[in-house]
């Protein structure tokens, strides 16, 4: 899962980035509205954390710009203004949820997880595929109830495929959604991680669709 964080306060930006990275997300950051708008417009993100008060271009304008361009990724607004009139304005501009500053990082993570999950059409925090069970909140994977140890890269890959269960996911899409923009796209890391995952999980869980990509089948 790849997340864009647009926040002009460098400390807060770093904190959110660290927390999200730790939570298993690939994170891109932007420090002003224009940069954020450009990244959101050109890169495929699974969710965006967007501050409202931004230099160059305010958050609501950025959001409206995205929605006008047909971008549908879930957007979590960060706002210091927590009156309902402000929230209503944000939601009407196309936001999916808001978190009022000052917030607890756990709350931000919980809201973001819920947004990503909802966008993928999952109602609960747990996604299953055959014997494999992914706890989105805790970042834990079990097979037939047995806990499996995964590295963060392996977890990201599995999580993305589980979220998009039943859909064929191309290697390009995986690269785009699992790594931030600085990642070297030409490497064959995806194949390497898929190989490692297959060793840890029942082999038939991740199917290769020749010429197209990978898929976890619906139950």
């Amino acid at each position: 899962m790849r997340i864009l964080v647009v926040e002009d306060d460098t400390n807060l930006n770093r904190q959110i980035k660290d927390a999200l990275t730790e939570g298993g997300y690939a994170v891109d950051v932007a420090f002003d509205g224009e940069e954020g708008q450009f990244l959101g417009d050109t890169e495929p993100y699974d969710a965006v954390v967007l501050d409202i008060g931004l230099p160059q271009m305010d958050g609501l304008s950025v959001l409206e710009e995205w929605r006008r361009a047909g971008k549908t990724m879930p957007v979590l607004l960060l706002t210091a203004r927590d009156r309902w009139s402000d929230k209503v304005q944000g939601i009407d501009a196309g936001a999916d949820d808001y978190v009022a500053k000052p917030f607890h990082m756990e709350e931000l993570l919980a809201r973001l997880r819920a947004l990503v999950r909802r966008a993928a059409g999952h109602a609960s925090n747990e996604i299953t595929a055959g014997p494999v069970r992914l706890d989105v909140k805790a970042g834990k994977v079990t097979v037939d109830g047995q806990s499996i140890k995964l590295t963060s890269h392996e977890l990201r890959l599995l999580s993305y495929l589980m979220h998009h269960k039943g859909k064929v996911v191309s290697r390009t899409e995986l690269t785009e959604h699992l790594y931030d923009q600085d990642f070297d796209r030409d490497s064959n890391t995806i194949e390497v991680f898929v190989g490692r995952l297959r060793k840890k999980l029942p082999e038939e869980i991740i199917q290769t669709v020749r010429g197209l990509g990978y898929q976890i089948l619906e139950d």
Partner: protein, 459 residues
């Protein structure tokens, strides 16, 4: 009319002026009348003298006893109407029948160039008389012809005239005083209208002073409007500054708080965590307070409750995809909310948010008009199918400064700001048991008189 009022002063000033002017008029008229009477009397007396003189001069004998005047007034005794013809030594050669038996006083002043002299004397009966004497020479003999008339009669006439004049002028004065009272009232009526208009602004029924005023007070109305505008601006600015400060503080607080959370366990982290918690509470408390304090500036505002609630319901459904919100659309006659739109949004938003948080799946919103005496209230009902509240919890929830449960994400019930706003608007908030099983929140708010009708355009 009370003392200290303009109408009072106008009235009494005009009354005082009327009294002076009318009294002066009465005095002047009486004086003129009295002078006219006196002139008339003098003319009459002179005419009589001339008649006597010509009778005397026509007389062929020196015996003047048959000289007489045809005027009957000179026949009755003691009336003050006398005539006498004397020689310079004072012997009466002829006299009126009225003066027979009395001694007429004599005029002491010298004759003028026309051989006349006049004086005001008193006869034996005590009448004040006007006496005029002419000196003539008849056949070489000097004769003094004196005729007198009763002055008291004239004085009585003048007195009578004065009485009538005073009566008439008093009546005129009273009529004028009443009129000036009415005029003062009428002239001051626009001021009354202006004060009504200002009152309406204060009551929140109008945003500015409207209406056409006379040239004298139109500038006052304009000034009041200008004052309202600048007041509004100052408050708006102050409110924005407070808001900017408070909101600006939130990001640094968030940073500190997150930093402390990352370094969990160290004494520094603990101190920072607890202090940032306090700072954050202070910031939101003062933000709320600033908003409420600015509320008194919200005059003449109204909001369409239906639109606001529809918008909130839409937003809440997006925020809570697991909850179905049943919005019962009110009919078009529902009055508007008398107050600031964002305040209504804040009150209803918090209540719906609570309902969504606690509900299992269903929230219902309805609105209606509630009439209490002549007053129409806007009643907003928000209910959920959650666990509900016990009587004790309800009592606690409605008490100031108490938060019910912090377990549900996004703070407690958020009722504090709702309660404060409800108080500011003089509304009420009740928490009851809903037929859905959860809480039924009843929010009663003042309604705007005009309702949803647009202001009528003049035709």
């Amino acid at each position: 009319m009370q003392k200290g009022s303009i109408a009072f002063w106008l009235f009494w000033l005009s009354v005082a002026w009327l009294v002076v002017a009318l009294a002066g008029t009465a005095f002047l008229l009486t004086g003129l009348y009295s002078r006219a009477l006196e002139t008339n009397l003098t003319n009459q007396l002179k005419f009589s003298i001339d008649a006597l003189a010509s009778a005397t001069l026509d007389s062929t004998t020196t015996d003047l006893s048959d000289v007489s005047l045809r005027d009957a007034r000179f026949d009755r005794a003691a009336t003050g109407w006398y005539w006498v013809i004397r020689n310079p030594s004072g012997d009466a050669l002829a006299e009126s029948r009225s003066s027979i038996g009395t001694v007429l006083p004599t005029i002491e002043t010298p004759f003028d160039d026309d051989n006349y002299r006049a004086d005001t004397l008193t006869d034996e009966s005590g009448n004040r008389i006007r006496a005029i004497e002419r000196r003539v020479t008849s056949e070489g003999l000097p004769l003094w012809i004196m005729v007198t008339g009763n002055l008291d009669e004239s004085v009585a006439l003048v007195e009578q005239f004065r009485g009538q004049t005073l009566t008439v002028l008093s009546a005129v004065g009273i009529a004028l005083a009443i009129m000036s009272g009415i005029v003062a009232r009428l002239a001051l009526r626009p001021i009354g209208r202006l004060s009504k208009a200002v009152e309406q602004v204060r009551e929140g029924e109008a945003e500015t002073i409207t209406g056409i005023y006379p040239r004298e007070i139109a500038p006052l109305a304009d000034e009041v409007n200008e004052l309202l505008r600048s007041n509004q601006q100052i408050i708006e600015r102050a409110r924005n500054q407070v808001g900017n400060l408070a909101h600006g503080l939130k990001t640094p607080i968030a940073v500190l708080r997150n930093e402390a959370a990352a370094a969990k366990g160290t004494p520094l982290a603990k101190a920072v965590a607890s202090e940032t918690e306090k700072m954050s509470q202070l910031v939101s408390a003062y933000l709320d307070r600033a908003r409420i304090a600015a509320r008194s500036a919200v005059v003449g505002k109204k909001a369409d409750a239906t639109t606001v609630m529809l918008r909130l319901a839409r937003v809440m459904e997006k925020l809570n995809p697991n909850v179905t919100i049943a919005f019962k659309r009110p009919d078009a006659s529902l009055p508007w909310f008398r107050g600031d739109e964002s305040d209504l949004e804040e009150m209803a938003g918090n209540l719906i948010d609570n309902a969504c948080k606690w509900s299992k799946s269903a929230v219902a919103i309805s609105m209606q008009t509630e009439r209490v005496n002549t007053n129409a209230l806007l009643l907003i009902k928000i209910e959920d199918d959650g666990p509900g509240l016990s009587d004790e919890e309800v009592e606690k929830a409605l008490r100031r400064g108490v938060k019910l449960d912090e377990k549900v994400p996004g703070s407690g019930l958020g009722l504090d700001i709702v309660k404060e706003l409800v108080d500011v608007y003089g509304g009420s908030l009740q928490l009851k048991r809903s037929v859905l099983g959860g809480v039924l929140a009843e929010l009663r708010l003042p309604s705007a008189r005009l309702g949803g009708l647009p202001p009528r355009s003049p035709t």
